[in-house]
């Protein structure tokens, strides 16, 4: 230890690295991408579509909670929706938003993985002030589960059995979605599956809501810390709100409807 260690390290570093690896220090102009293919435009799209889907979830939850008010209220609400001439364009729009979100999120995920071809031998979470959570680390998996869930959900309800019940002024009767719910959620397997999927939705939103605002550039020293908290509460409320329905049907509503 006679020589100062600093000198040793310097001599260790010479000779310099192989020149083959070096790339130029100045850039010629890099190729221009169209806005939505840039890293920023991509995240703007994911964020905007994510927020729109989130908005849809709120409306969907509010509508669905009408089931607690009994078959008449619930069926006339769904009748109003189904028979509305605007329902088809709105559904197409919603489907397009969903597809854009999925396409952009999946291609973005792949591009991000490519940005690190050699993985770390050991990884660690940094802790605060990082927002990394189980939810933020599993966005692609929660997303894929949501996709599978949505498909099953559509088959079970939207394209499910068309029960009709006479109700109100409507001569032909209305679709009895209340009965369908009792039927689907009379099966404990469906209840468990839906409860699990709603936890996954909650997880996606746990990180997603606040992240989407940031992706749109909406960030403020006072409001962002608030948003980070409120977003988690909202995510939990949405997940628990949806979950309440299958459980309520299974444990309470069926008894009344058996006769």
């Amino acid at each position: 230890m006679a020589t100062p260690s600093r000198t040793v390290s310097k001599s260790v570093l010479a000779p310099p690295a192989p020149p083959t690896q070096r790339r130029p220090y100045t850039s010629s102009v890099a190729p221009t991408r169209s806005y939505f293919n840039t890293s920023i435009g991509t995240k703007v799209l994911i964020g905007a579509t994510g927020l729109l889907l989130f908005g849809y979830l709120i409306l969907h939850l509010l509508g669905n909670l009408l089931v607690f008010l009994g078959p008449e209220t619930f069926n006339s609400y769904s009748h109003l929706l189904i028979k509305n001439p605007l329902i088809v364009p709105v559904e197409i729009g919603l489907g397009a938003i969903f597809l854009v979100h999925i396409y952009k999120a999946v291609t973005n995920f792949i591009a991000n993985r490519r940005a690190r071809p050699v993985r770390y031998h050991r990884t660690a979470w940094t802790g605060r002030p990082s927002r990394k959570s189980l939810a933020s680390s599993t966005m692609i998996f929660s997303g894929i589960i949501i996709l599978v869930f949505v498909l099953i959900h559509l088959v079970q309800f939207k394209y499910g059995p068309e029960y009709v019940v006479a109700q109100g002024s409507s001569e032909a009767g209305v679709r009895d979605l209340y009965r369908l719910e009792l039927e689907v959620f009379g099966n404990i397997l469906n209840v468990v599956f839906y409860a699990f999927c709603m936890l996954v939705v909650g997880s996606h939103l746990w990180h997603g809501i606040a992240s989407a605002f940031d992706s749109l550039g909406a960030d403020h020293p006072r409001f962002t810390p608030l948003l980070l908290r409120v977003a988690k509460v909202v995510a939990a409320v949405i997940a628990l709100g949806f979950m309440a329905i299958p459980f309520w049907v299974f444990f309470f509503a069926r008894q009344g409807a058996v006769s």
């Binding site: 260690s5 690896q21 220090y25 850039s27 591009a111 050991r122 990082s130 960030d219």
Partner: protein, 260 residues
Amino acid sequence: MVFDDRPNRTMTLHLLVWRQPNGQTHGKMVPYTAEGISPDMSFLEMLDVVNEGLIRKGEEPIAFDSDCREGICGSCALVVNGRAHGPDGGTTVCQLHMRRFQNGDTIAIEPWRARAFPVIKDLVVDRSAFDRIIAAGGYTSISVGGAPDANTTLIPKDTVEAAMDAAACIACGACVAQCKNASAALFTGAKISQLALLPQGAAERRRRALRMVRQMDAEGFGSCSWEGQCEAVCPKGIKITNIAKMVREYNRAATTGETS
């Protein structure tokens, strides 16, 4: 340098170090034992001791970057146990000391890992991608006068502070190293936002945002998922609000064009 050479105070550590002869060959984690390490040594001095041992044995020493060794130049770049710059926040790895570890610990030492930062040798990576991002627009090309002229432009204190916070970046690349997407958004965002905040830089804010983001994307960095691990490992504590600012600057420029 004063060494505390009381015999019971030296440490033995088990290292796992990434060894890779050059960019064309595959690398692997290689175990080494570091003996006789004083808790008062810095992390890099510990590596120097290991290297002296390797040289004495006629083996190839471990290549790693360092320059100032006082936390200001941004040369040193090691991922220690999965964390860029090691376990302490707000500091570079040259400022990490061995007293932070326990005798007998196993320490994994890896280079920054990103497609845009190819390994040159062992723990040394080529960070010239950052130079090219700066060269694409991280400067002012208009005449803003000499030093005394700075006093003729009045800038609110809060704005100056925000710009100075962003300007603290030493371009070490820890943000990229820690990000799960190997994104350079914090580095690029800090420079875009620093210059956009100040009147001297604001004149070219649109062109700068467009060009720097274009270069950042071309280098093969990932996008931002807002986990903020970059902020947590940044030796200068640069905040991810700078990334949101970059998004706003970029969107404004993308909708109005380079010069308006």
